[in-house]
């Protein structure tokens, strides 16, 4: 990869799709490079005046983005074959031409925009919440050791971008596997002192259809996670919990 200089142009190849049921097609655009430029800025450039590399007027490319600092999870897409956030994908670090595709495993809405609502629906399935008694003042809540907090906080940084599902071979049309982001929520909630009280209900779900058994331990999830969440150990921990819980129940304890 050669060094970039100002005024260099580069090519972006985008897999486009006009609607959920439309056929995908590829278009190429030429973009002027600036230092510090990321994929979002390049897409904004294209949107301003969408003309392909062959001089053909095109519709503006549609994609999702919001916070631009890797905390909202909106702008996940497949960039040069890898699922990642567009905002933190700096052009100077990418092989050119840059190829953009919608995040795999999720239904396409249009172009690079996908529908990730299944992720949130699965959060509900694993009961990823603490059933508090109410929002009225009820004192300080549980004490938490520094050790517990430091172990759990990294798991709590998941931005539900869906990259871990996109990269997982076990998430596909023939499987109901919920994916690492969802299982990690169960681990996280089970680790909090008050969340632990409803652990059994969550473990019932993850032992069932689409749960832990679906994981093939390919470990792609952890490799693509933009927040470096230790997803492999998170799932392993949930597995241990689920197993122990099952044994205890079998023994009638």
């Amino acid at each position: 990869m050669r060094e970039f200089v100002m005024s260099d142009n580069f090519t972006i190849k985008i897999r486009r799709q006009d609607g959920p049921d439309a056929k995908p097609y590829w278009q190429e655009f030429e973009v002027n490079f600036r230092p510090g430029m990321n994929v979002v800025i390049a897409l904004q450039d294209i949107r301003r005046d969408p003309v392909t590399i062959d001089g053909v007027k095109a519709d503006p490319v549609v994609w999702e983005c919001s916070c631009l600092e890797e905390v909202c999870g909106s702008c996940a897409m497949v960039i040069n074959g890898r699922a990642r956030q567009a905002c933190s994908a700096l052009i100077e670090d990418l092989d050119r031409p840059v190829t953009l595709e919608p995040l795999a495993k999720f239904p396409v809405v249009r172009d690079l925009m996908v529908d990730r609502s299944s992720l949130f629906e699965n959060f509900a399935r694993v009961r990823a919440w603490i059933p508090i008694d109410g929002t009225y003042p009820m004192g300080p809540g549980p004490q938490v050791s520094q050790e517990e907090q430091e172990a759990a906080y990294p798991l709590a940084r998941c931005i539900t971008c869906g990259c871990c599902l996109a990269a997982c071979p076990q998430v596909n049309n023939n499987s109901s596997f919920m994916g690492a982001a969802v299982l990690n929520q169960a681990t996280l909630l089970n680790s909090y002192p008050t969340g632990r009280m409803n652990r059994a209900a969550r473990l019932d779900v993850v032992r069932g259809d689409g749960g832990l058994a679906g994981c093939g331990n390919a470990q792609n999830c952890e490799r693509v996670c933009p927040k470096s969440i230790p997803l492999v150990s998170s799932i392993a921990r949930l597995n241990r919990e689920a197993l122990l819980d099952a044994v205890k129940r079998w023994l009638g304890k």
């Binding site: 905390v71 933190s88 249009r110 925009m113 809540g141 004490q143 759990a152």
Partner: protein
């Protein structure tokens, strides 16, 4: 209990808390958000949330939190409301800890607190530097629980277009599905607008791109009064960038970070020099002006540019990882430099809207049935918000607006369902016509270029330093842009996820709100908090201790004023160089 139907617009902290409170009262909520609520801009709040729990034994108190907030806001906030918020803050922090927020802890397992700007106390609870994200997730989980129980219906991916006003009261909304472009009217007995900030009006800011203020502008255009529009916070430390000015949290300074520029070959810690009592933890308006002075008046910006250093490289890397990991990660990822080793390069950036929809003490706007909460309203922060007070005010507002909307809806004589459907269909048709007009105009103005022009103009003339000549010209230019906005060339004609059409609608609303900000600033001939005019460098309580009220007219904002409630603390001169 009468069954009511309440709409909440916005899925950030204020909207989520409002929703929880309404569901907890047993009423049904329809929650509208432009994106999945877990992606709302509240996730960008980094440093923490203030509550005077006094767990460090420093003698902190509710009153001191209240006094710091009112003083930090340069006495423009109505004091009884601020006091009520500060009283609720400890309960809010404890409640969110019960919900599972992974707050940092002390060795004994209690909540840990750190310092923030404008106070001498360790008052800020925090979860690393992703406190807002953790709070959104906790509230999102509670909303999902109520959703599973059937009390909440989410409309994610819908944007507010207009309120439906019937006989002077708000009876519902029209909204657009951002994927299918369907425009629909939704009747409601009460509507709560928790529509967030307005950073996009300044083109580049620390805000998420969704923070256009478009929804608040639509409500303003429908008759809701907009208060203190001229008070826009510029945060002192953000990373320069072409797409966004990424925030570097005040918590960096709370944990011991220092701001400096090279002078005569050595670091000059100008905030510590000028403000020995508070040092790097002066409030944001003070710090931003100091940085402007150092860079623009003294010409001491790093490498001659619009940059100063925000330095945490002297801190223990272990402490950085425990307390500041989120910002270290953002800085490293977007700049390529490790702030554990080299000072961060930062500059002030538009950050927060102290102004917003006018509300009374129950978060009711002047339009019956329409409430506002969070950054979208104006109540708590006066002329300048203290760091880590926004998360408190957003959640607190939800705790007030939710029950207030329930009480209003339950007390209604006539349910929204009893109103002729023609009223709703007429408004929906009006909004459909606007879409058709935009797509069929065949104009020549590029909406994205016009947006850039607006942002450049607003950043140049309506941020840290304001001059009446410039403000006057800015408003004229905005009026001209509004006219050009009627001749947009929207290339995309697609009926699916047409983001260009959505943007065109938002742009017009942004321009209209930009005029209110600019005219509010033009008329206020004093300096107070974030509003600074070199021509009028002093605060003028005799002339200007009053709240600005902007009402929409097609010819521009109509401005009037009302007194500020200063019944609890006598206004005093504000300075941070000595105690």
């Amino acid at each position: 209990m009468k069954q009511a139907n309440i709409i909440v617009i916005g899925g950030g902290l204020a909207g989520l808390m409002t929703t929880i409170k309404i569901a907890e009262a047993g009423q049904k909520v329809q929650l509208f958000a432009m994106q999945p609520v877990r992606r709302s801009h509240s996730v960008c709040a980094q440093g923490g949330i203030n509550a005077a729990i006094n767990l460090k034994g420093e003698g902190d108190s509710i009153w001191t939190h209240f006094d710091d907030t009112v003083y930090g806001g340069d006495f423009l906030a109505n004091q009884p409301l601020v006091k009520r918020m500060c009283e609720a803050a400890p309960d809010i922090v404890e409640l969110t800890a019960r919900m599972g927020v992974m707050y940092n802890r002390t060795p004994e397992g209690n909540l840990d607190f750190r310092r923030f700007g404008g106070t001498k106390f360790h008052r800020t609870a925090f979860a690393g530097t992703t406190t807002g994200q953790q709070l959104v997730y906790a509230l999102d989980e509670q909303v999902r629980r109520h959703e599973a129980e059937g009390l909440v219906t989410k409309f994610e991916g819908w944007e507010l277009l207009s309120p439906v006003i019937h006989n002077g009261a708000c009876r519902g909304i029209t909204a657009m599905n951002l994927n299918t472009m369907e425009v629909r009217a939704f009747p409601a007995d009460a509507v709560v607008a928790a529509t967030g900030g307005i950073g996009a009006i300044f083109g580049l800011s620390t805000n998420s791109l969704v923070n256009t203020g478009s929804a608040a502008s639509a409500l303003y255009q429908a008759g809701a009064v907009y208060a203190n529009p001229e008070f826009v916070q510029v945060h002192p430390t953000a990373m320069p960038g072409e797409d966004k000015l990424r925030l570097i949290s005040e918590s960096a300074r709370g944990e011991g970070g220092r701001v400096w520029v090279p002078r005569d070959g050595r670091p000059w810690y100008f905030l510590e020099d000028w403000y020995p009592a508070y040092g790097n933890l002066v409030p944001r308006d003070i710090a931003s002006r100091a940085i402007f002075k150092v860079v623009h008046e003294l010409g001491l910006g790093v490498d001659g540019g619009e940059v100063v250093y925000m330095d945490i490289s002297h801190l223990n890397p272990r402490d950085i990882d425990r307390n500041l990991y989120g910002i270290a990660e953002i800085y490293e990822r977007f700049s390529g430099d490790d702030p554990r080793k080299v000072p961060m390069r930062v500059f002030p950036a538009v950050h927060y809207n102290m102004g917003g929809l006018w509300v009374d003490d129950s978060m009711a706007t002047n339009v019956p049935g329409l409430f506002a909460a969070g950054e979208a309203e104006y109540q708590h922060h006066g002329a300048n918000r203290l760091g880590a007070n926004s998360l408190v005010s957003c959640i607190f507002d939800g705790m007030v607006a939710g029950p207030a909307a329930v009480a209003y809806a339950e007390g209604l004589q006539k349910r929204s369902g009893e109103i002729s459907s023609g009223i709703f269909e007429a408004e929906a048709n009006l909004q459909r016509d606007i879409n058709a007009d935009i797509l069929n105009t065949g104009g020549t103005e590029n909406p994205f270029d016009l947006f850039r022009e607006m942002g450049d103009l607003m950043r140049k003339n309506v941020t840290v330093i304001r001059k009446n000549d410039d403000l006057k010209k800015t408003d004229e230019k905005l009026a001209e842009m509004l006219e050009r906005c009627g001749r947009l060339n929207v290339v995309d004609k697609s009926p699916v996820a047409n983001t260009s059409l959505v943007f065109a609608r938002e742009l017009k609303n942004m321009l209209i709100l930009a005029r209110a900000i600019t005219v509010g600033a033009l008329m206020r001939d004093e300096s107070r908090g974030a509003h600074y005019k070199p021509e009028y460098p002093m605060r003028d309580d005799a002339g200007w201790l009053k709240t600005t009220r902007a009402s929409f007219t097609p010819d521009g904002p109509e401005i009037s004023y009302e007194p500020v409630d200063v019944s609890l603390i006598v206004p005093r001169e504000r300075h941070y160089d000595v105690d």
